[in-house]
Amino acid sequence: MQKNMSDTVQVKGRSQASAQDKRHTFWKRISRNWELYLLIAPAFLYFLIFHYGPMYGIQIAFKNFLPARGITDSPWVGFDHFIRFFNSYYFWDLIRNTLTISLYQLIVGFPLPILLALAFNEIRNGWFKRTVQTVTYAPHFISVVVMAGIIVTFLSPSTGIIVKMIEWMGFSSPAFLTDPAWFKTMYVLSGVWQSTGWGTIIYLAALSAVDPQLHEAAIVDGASRWRRIWSINIPTIIPTITILLILNVGSILGVGFEKILLLQNPLNMSSSDVIDTFVYRTGLLNVQYSFSTAVGLFNSVVNALLLIAVNQVARKTSEHSLW
């Protein structure tokens, strides 16, 4: 009995000591590396304040937001806004447009920077390489509003330079701006023109990590240039590709809103209206904040689920994943 007691006491004492130890080491770890924690603090605070803080406002998706009562005191309505959205006339159109534009963009826009980066990597002439890179980066710096203006001007049926060129070659030009069938192509291809060059940067960085000895050894073994790209360069950047693909899929319901809004008109609406433009219209223009927050929340939840799912798949099939 006594022995037992002393045992328990001992055990208790040990566990207390270990908890103290843990706390102790935690603070010790922090104080030992305080410079690193200081370094990360601004980023940590940024996310806390600007990305987690605002989530407090999400609750208005389940409320009837009245500005005078504020976020906290507005009355609860449960899932009413979600039900209204799911029953809305445009629900399926919005989902379809958002998905097809995103997938189209992903399928066309995702591989191109990879190909371009592999090509850049093969250029040996420094001057030529720099020039081509600068030329392909340049469109990235055009703002969305100007970009939309350029698209509309170039594709205008009466004065557009592209339309004139098509007509000059003897074809009749499609109504790019107003034909719903052309909207997605116009959107995706102009995006490719604008962002492919910029997208190569991250792959070029990854390619610079290739060990030159591998190439030397391969050349000695008589490997052709194609062979080396296929067997050395691509495997090196596969982790980068996987991570970027996961991130891209994670934002599949979040297509670039400004450009779509600026290119939208009543005629192409049937293929250009996406969740984000719908949120803008109902939220900011028709002042239905709660409803549009509900739609935005739905969008984010779907995105988060997709991100998790794709990450899961990537982890199962390869060793690369976000977490």
């Binding site: 407090y56 994670g250 009543p266 609406m269």
Partner: protein, 553 residues
């Protein structure tokens, strides 16, 4: 990645704007006001108390200055891009008179609506909304929540003698600016002479001259209009040897719709009432279907601009400046053509179809609501109201219509208000350009009473010509306002808002499709069924009830 950061932007903005501390000077007062308003609302029986003994004590009920001790208030209004409000002589003069100065917040007119909505959601309001085009929905919603102050007690208690006089003489105006709960949340623009419900359409005078069409021979039926548009298209009226004429110009049809709908007896493009007091929704009427058929015919024969649904108003104006447009809408034709005011371009004569005996022509109701409002954060409602009341007197209206005396005009006879123009400074193209730098009441619905006296002696040949065009082409057609100015209850308003969100998109989209032929007109029945399913009948029902309530009040 970019997209995922943006999804909650709506809620994050409002959160952070709430988070900012309100200006400490007004904090205490707004809390006091806010709680007293809330108390007023919750108890139901007692009316909300506006203002306080303290803020009232500083105000002179008569004459200038309005306040004994100088105060500064914040004011929100649209910037039309002519001049900073703080540099406008009208405000500077008014500050000297009244002892009230302002801190201005002026988002550009283009994005004003969005900005205004955000301000309401943010919880931090300007003290005064000036020329902010508050919609009736805004007034009902934010008024019932206590964000906009009810003004009727202050008006009746002697803080707005000029306005009170107008309201007492015209009970109809008072009726039109009072919401169903009996409050007045906004002050109107009163202009009993105003005629245009929408800016008129104008024919290109050069085209008519080239085709030898006299003003008396202008089209009076839809078929004659069609024939003339064909001639615009085929006979090269701009004489440049190219077939680049655009017979009928439009941007999304919003500019021409209400004028052409009249040909099928429809007074307004949205909700309107007929002579028997029955409320109609234009977009489900048979006449609207005829209109679509007609516009589709114009489209398929290239008489209606094929860029109608994709161009911006600026692009349309550029075509007008290069003399390509035959018939177009603008405030004045020379705004589109460029150059000086001219009497060469005649106004469109309302046309009629075979379906009706005479065209339906809309006229402005002479009143626009939502021009001025005071918010709960305003520390001096009495002084603010006295300030705006000056705009409803001849002197105040003159100050804010044309700027202080001696700049753009000078008085010839003080007794009968005759004035004359001063020479235009050389840096300005036209008097209107100059006027836009003097006063905020330029291109914005500002609170004022525009009486005929304001223009006395200032009317030039062009203005008289426009008056005559109005006389012959609008007033002669027995016009009526499409729908009286009336308010819905907050419940009705919120039902309408949620019903209309999808319906308006659908209607706009289908109109474009029907006109351009993407959807054949055989799809009309389907369209009608869809709109009805979206609740168009309920909308008519709500407005009918509101109309009956208004009529019997």
């Amino acid at each position: 990645m970019k997209g995922s950061f943006r999804t909650h932007s709506g809620s994050s903005t409002s959160f952070f704007q709430r988070f900012k501390a309100p200006r400490t000077a007004t904090l205490v007062l707004s809390i006091v006001l806010g709680t007293s308003l809330l108390a007023g609302c919750s108890s139901g029986s007692s009316e909300p108390q506006v203002g306080s003994a303290e803020s009232a004590a500083n105000v002179n009920k008569e004459g200038f200055p309005i306040v004994k001790e100088k105060i500064t208030l914040s004011m929100m209004g649209p910037d039309v891009g002519m001049q900073n409000w703080k540099d406008m002589p009208a405000f500077q003069e008014m500050e000297k008179l009244s002892n009230i100065s302002f801190k201005f917040e002026n988002p550009p007119l283009d994005s004003f609506e969005t900005k205004k909505n955000l301000v309401f959601a943010s919880g931090e309001y300007p003290d005064i909304f000036y020329a902010s085009s508050l919609t009736q929905a805004d007034e009902v919603n934010y008024g019932s929540q206590g964000i906009l102050l009810p003004l009727e007690d202050l008006i009746d208690n002697g803080y707005a003698p000029n306005l009170k006089k107008v309201l007492d003489e015209n009970p109809a105006i008072r009726k039109s600016i009072t919401t169903p709960d009996g409050h007045i949340y906004s002050l109107p623009v009163i202009n009993q002479q105003s005629i245009w419900y929408r800016s008129p359409m104008w024919y290109n005078g050069d085209f008519l001259e080239a085709l030898n069409v006299k003003e008396a021979d202008l089209p009076k039926t839809t078929e004659e209009l069609y024939d003339l548009l064909v001639r615009f298209r085929d006979e090269d009226p701009n004489g440049n040897g190219k077939k680049d004429e655009i017979p009928l110009a439009s941007v999304k049809l919003d500019d021409v719709r209400s004028w052409l709908l009249g040909a099928w007896g429809i007074y307004g493009e949205d909700i309107y009432n007929d002579a028997n007091g029955k409320v109609h929704f234009a977009r489900t009427e048979d006449g609207y279907r005829e209109f679509l058929t007609y516009m589709n015919r114009l489209w398929s024969e290239k008489l209606l601009d094929h860029e109608t649904f994709s161009q911006t108003p600026d692009q349309k104006k550029a075509k007008g400046a290069s003399n390509q447009l035959g018939l177009f809408q603008d405030w004045h034709a020379y705004f589109t053509h460029g150059g000086k005011p001219t009497t060469k371009d005649p106004m469109f004569i309302p046309v009629k179809s075979d379906a009706v005996d005479k065209p339906a022509v809309a006229i402005h109701p002479g009143l626009s609501t939502g021009a001025f409002a005071i918010t709960e954060s305003n520390p001096a409602p009495e002084a603010s109201l006295r300030w705006v009341d000056y705009m409803y007197s001849y002197d105040g209206a003159m100050l804010f219509d044309k700027g202080p005396e001696g700049l753009i005009y000078e008085t010839v006879n003080k007794e009968d208000h005759t004035k004359k123009w001063k020479p235009l400074p050389s840096e300005y193209n036209s008097r209107e350009d100059y006027r836009g730098t003097l006063t905020p009441n330029y291109g914005t619905p500002a609170p004022t009473l525009l009486s005929p006296d304001l223009q006395k002696g200032l009317k030039e040949d062009f203005d008289l010509w426009v008056d005559k065009q109005n006389e012959e082409k609008i007033l002669a057609y027995d016009p009526q306002p499409p729908f009286p100015i009336l308010y819905l209850t907050p419940e009705e308003q919120s039902e309408i808002s949620s019903l209309r969100a999808d319906m308006d998109t659908y209607i706009q989209q289908m109109e474009a499709k029907f006109v351009t032929g993407q959807e054949p007109l055989s799809g009309w029945d389907n369209y009608l069924a869809t709109v009805k399913q979206m609740g168009s009948d309920r909308i008519i029902e709500i407005y009918q009830a509101a109309y009956d309530r208004w009529k019997n009040s």
